[in-house]
Structure formats: structure tokens, C-alpha cells
């Protein structure tokens, strides 16, 4: 289909090394029904302005790189289409993060929070299983056991939920939706034995208790994995841990 209709994209430009403050730049982009925000950004970079900086990789909502604010709402650029908007589009870098350049956010804090909850299988007897005498055995899992955590396992680490979370905006120390969801995902996995190592992080004021169940994280999640529900399951787990803690010296 020939691209005849044009749309205006207003993009926040900012180079911290040169600019005093962010500014806005307007671009006219031809589009049809299949033009995504990422397609439009690539068009601008290739045809109008090679200095525009943004992150992208897979173009199919798997890598989680192309997160931007579209008209103030966190979106994946590749999964958002120009046809969905009647007026101009305002593109800004993800809210609540520092900006490296233009639409590129500094995700360091996000990655630190993910790391803090040890988002991997922890096995106590791992060393014993790898001695020559005992051959390592695969960890078996029934479909029922898989179903317990599966809904929380499809996170692509795009960070949209952090840009949506007002509590993370107020307190960057708050571990945030994705990290707490990952913690819950591994705590629910029957192959994992690391819950005791993760709970202290969840029990703190920057763990599950930093959440006030706003729920916007679940609205913006491009994989629909309902982080708000995971965090609130984490609250039940933390409250249980609190009661057990009262009876333990």
C-alpha cells in the first residue's frame, strides 16, 4: 500500500552533554495501517534525522528494548501503531528514569533491582548433585506445578511497569513491579529452594510493602502478566513470613 497519509511525531530531544534542558522536535512521518511507532522512529532516523537516538532490537515485542512514553503512557514502540492515535504523537523517554540521550533511558537502577531478588533457580544440594558418584538428575515438574508460576514467567524486562509505577517514581529504592514479580515467580517454582534468601528483600519497606496496589503496572504490561497481582501475592507471603518470624527466635 502506498504511504500517502502523514502524521506528526513530537519527540523529546536531549543530549545531557550539550543541552541545558530537553526540547521538542516535530517530524512528519508517512504511515499506513501497519506503521508502528518503532517503524516511524526508524524512518525518521534513516530519512530525516540520523542524530535521533532510541533503543530497539527485535521489532516483535520480545526483547523489551523499544520502551518509550507515547502521549504520557509507557508503551513498546514495536507494539504500538500510529493508526491508534487520532492526533499528534508525543514521544518521550521512559518516566522515572534518567535520560542518556533523546529516547534512551538509563536502566541501571532497574537492572540492580532485578538482581537484588536473585531471579534464578537456587538449589541447596547443587554441589552434591554434580559429584561423579551421583549423576545430575533433571528437575521434574508436573503441568500443575508449572501452572503455579507460569503466568509470571513471561516478563521481557522492558521496564514499562516502572515508568507506570507512581511509588517507584516517588522512591527509586522501591524494588518495583518487575523485580517483585520475578521474586514471586521463583518463589512459586517447586524446583527452587531460594525463598528464604529472597524474603528479606521482599519484607523490607522497599520490597512488597512499597506497593500501594495502584495497578497501573498491570495495565501497561505488554505481556499481560499482571505484576500487581504478583506483588500482592508477595504481600501475603511476606505477612505469613512475618507471623512465622514472631514464633521463631
Amino acid at each position: 500500500m502506498e504511504k500517502t497519509v502523514e502524521k506528526t511525531l513530537v519527540i523529546q530531544r536531549y543530549n545531557p552533554e550539550q543541552d541545558q534542558r530537553p526540547s521538542q522536535q516535530r517530524y512528519q512521518v508517512p504511515f499506513d495501517n501497519s506503521t508502528s511507532v518503532l517503524d516511524a522512529l526508524l524512518y525518521i532516523q534513516q530519512s530525516l534525522d540520523p542524530s535521533l537516538a532510541f533503543r530497539w532490537s527485535c521489532r516483535m515485542a520480545i526483547c523489551g528494548s523499544c520502551s518509550v512514553m507515547v502521549n504520557g503512557i509507557p508503551k513498546l514502540g514495536c507494539k504500538t501503531f500510529l493508526r491508534e492515535y487520532s492526533g499528534d504523537l508525543l514521544l518521550e523517554p521512559l518516566a522515572h528514569f534518567a535520560t542518556e540521550k533523546d529516547l534512551v533511558s538509563d536502566m541501571t537502577l532497574f537492572l540492580q533491582h532485578l538482581q537484588a531478588v536473585k531471579p534464578y533457580l537456587i538449589r541447596q544440594e547443587q554441589s552434591a548433585a554434580t559429584t561423579p558418584a551421583t549423576k545430575p538428575q533433571p528437575h521434574k515438574q508436573t503441568p500443575k506445578q508449572l501452572a503455579k508460576y507460569r503466568k509470571f514467567s513471561s516478563c521481557i524486562n522492558c521496564g514499562l511497569c516502572y515508568a507506570a509505577c507512581p511509588q517507584f517514581g516517588l522512591n527509586p529504592e522501591f524494588l518495583g513491579p518487575a523485580a517483585l514479580t520475578l521474586a514471586q515467580r521463583y518463589n512459586l517454582d517447586n524446583r527452587d529452594q531460594g525463598k528464604a534468601e529472597r524474603m528479606p528483600q521482599l519484607n523490607g519497606k522497599n520490597g512488597v510493602w512499597g506497593c500501594t496496589f495502584v495497578g497501573f503496572c498491570s495495565d501497561v504490561c505488554p505481556k499481560h502478566l499482571d505484576p500487581a497481582a504478583a506483588v500482592n501475592q508477595g504481600k501475603v507471603a511476606s505477612a505469613t513470613d512475618f507471623v512465622i518470624g514472631l514464633f521463631k527466635p
Partner: protein, 124 residues
Amino acid sequence: MNQPKRSDEPIWWALFSAGGVCFAVVIPGLLLTIALLYPLGVLPENALNYQQVQQWLLQDWWGLAGLALAGAAICLPLFHAMHRIHHGLHDLKLSSGLLGKILCYSSASLFSALALYFWWQGLG
């Protein structure tokens, strides 16, 4: 990484959750009965007369119904509401935490204690 201090939030969250259930179930039921059905004359005229209600709440079953009503209609909803206000103050950047927390939960405790005191008085 240092282990963070355990939060005392589970206590307040448990009271908040219990109060939320009361707000969702008990309060609408009470409002329907006392504020709608009774004034509209749907219930018999003397169904909620003073002696009858006093009998139910403070004399039958050692007054346990009165205790349950005070807890479910006053104490727990109070903690629910003050928990919301405490976190709302944080969201509006009006309170840094501790002072608001003390004010919110101590007022909920005070009025809960008053409700329980009046129930206790009614028993005698």
C-alpha cells in the same frame, strides 16, 4: 547487599485488609438495613426498636454480637480508612512517614478503644 530491616507493614496491612472486607460486606448491609429499608418502611416498624436492638447486641450471647458489630462496623473500617489516608499523604508528598503514621494509626486506635469501651459499658 545488606539485608533490609523487616517492615512492620504486615500488621497494618492485615488490619487494612480485614477492614476492606468489612467495608465491602458489612457496611453496605448495615446501610441497606438502617438507612434504606427501615426508613422506607420495608421492615416492620418495631423491628429495630431500642429494647430489641439492645437485647440482640448487648444481652444475647454475652453481648458478642455487639462486639462483632463494633469491630466490623467501626474498628476495622477505621484502620482501613486511616491506612489509606497514611499512604495517601505519602503519595501527595504531605508526610515523610513516621509522624503521619503515628497520627493515623493512633487516631484509629483511639476511636476503636472508645467503641469497645462503650460496648463494655453497655454490657453492665
